[in-house]
Symmetry: C2
């Protein structure tokens, strides 16, 4: 029918697959999706960060982050340590149990996607990156700064997509 519809349908499939995976991954890791996201961000930041940074990156309020951290701390997946440099800040530290939890998240989405992506010829990879970035910029409001860590997998890079 229409190319616009085709592209919307494909986009929707992408969104839905990702969401479904993220739920399954979180549940099989024994935490909720939001909690797993927190753990993954802390890991991506090198094992420690602050509630403020988490709230910004996740796009939720500090109050929400506090609630999530309460649950994670109660289960000993993270620790809170007051910062020496700025005593208003709390350092959120991932524990060994927390690391084990993120490690045990199978992350099937990333594995499958990455595996298939890397099988593609060079020109096709380049084309896909170009198109995805174009779509992202078409959707991106511009006032969005945080690049959230979803359950697609860890990225070595830590950019704030502009």
């Amino acid at each position: 029918m229409d190319r616009t519809d085709d592209s919307l349908i494909a986009l929707r499939r992408i969104l839905r697959s990702t969401e479904l995976y993220s739920r399954d991954l979180a549940l099989s890791a024994g935490v909720t999706p939001a909690q797993l996201r927190v753990l993954q961000i802390v890991v991506a930041k090198g094992g420690s960060t602050t509630p403020k940074a988490l709230a910004t990156q996740m796009g939720v309020s500090q109050a929400t982050v506090t609630a999530l951290l309460d649950k994670l701390q109660k289960r000993k997946l993270i620790d809170r340590v007051r910062s020496e440099a700025d005593r208003r800040q709390m350092n959120i530290i991932i524990t060994d149990d927390g690391l084990a939890t993120t490690d045990s998240a199978p992350d099937a989405l990333q594995q499958r996607y990455v595996k298939e992506f890397e099988k593609l010829p060079d020109w096709e990879q380049a084309m896909m990156v170009a198109v995805l970035e174009r779509v992202a910029s078409m959707l991106d409001a511009g006032d969005i700064d945080a690049s959230p860590v979803l359950t697609i997998g860890d990225l070595h890079t830590d950019r704030t997509s502009h």
Copy 2:
């Protein structure tokens, strides 16, 4: 430069934008995302359907649908009418106010995306569709029932395959 990371980052930006927009969208229509999604499905079904059908399509329990319908009915966006054919069933009928709500839902994400997409030259549209469908199939488990309505609520649809 790592193309795999670049593509994952772009994907995350896409997911992120969609998620943020879906919130604003529903709020500016004066209903919550889940409630808007109920209204949209009822409209898509021709203005009337049953709670059971809604629950199936949304991938949530009937109890959840009942709670959503309670709120929508209290605001006179839908009506409940007991079926004559099978008196166990309720027909969920959208009201004029409900129709007005779905019509006024700006759906900024889709509108902006569509507007920009349709400005692109033909070959570029074709390339984008091809890439998006490829990504979708790389992510997709295989079960699809995608419509060209891009709302985040659809992410919870139809988890029968998991």
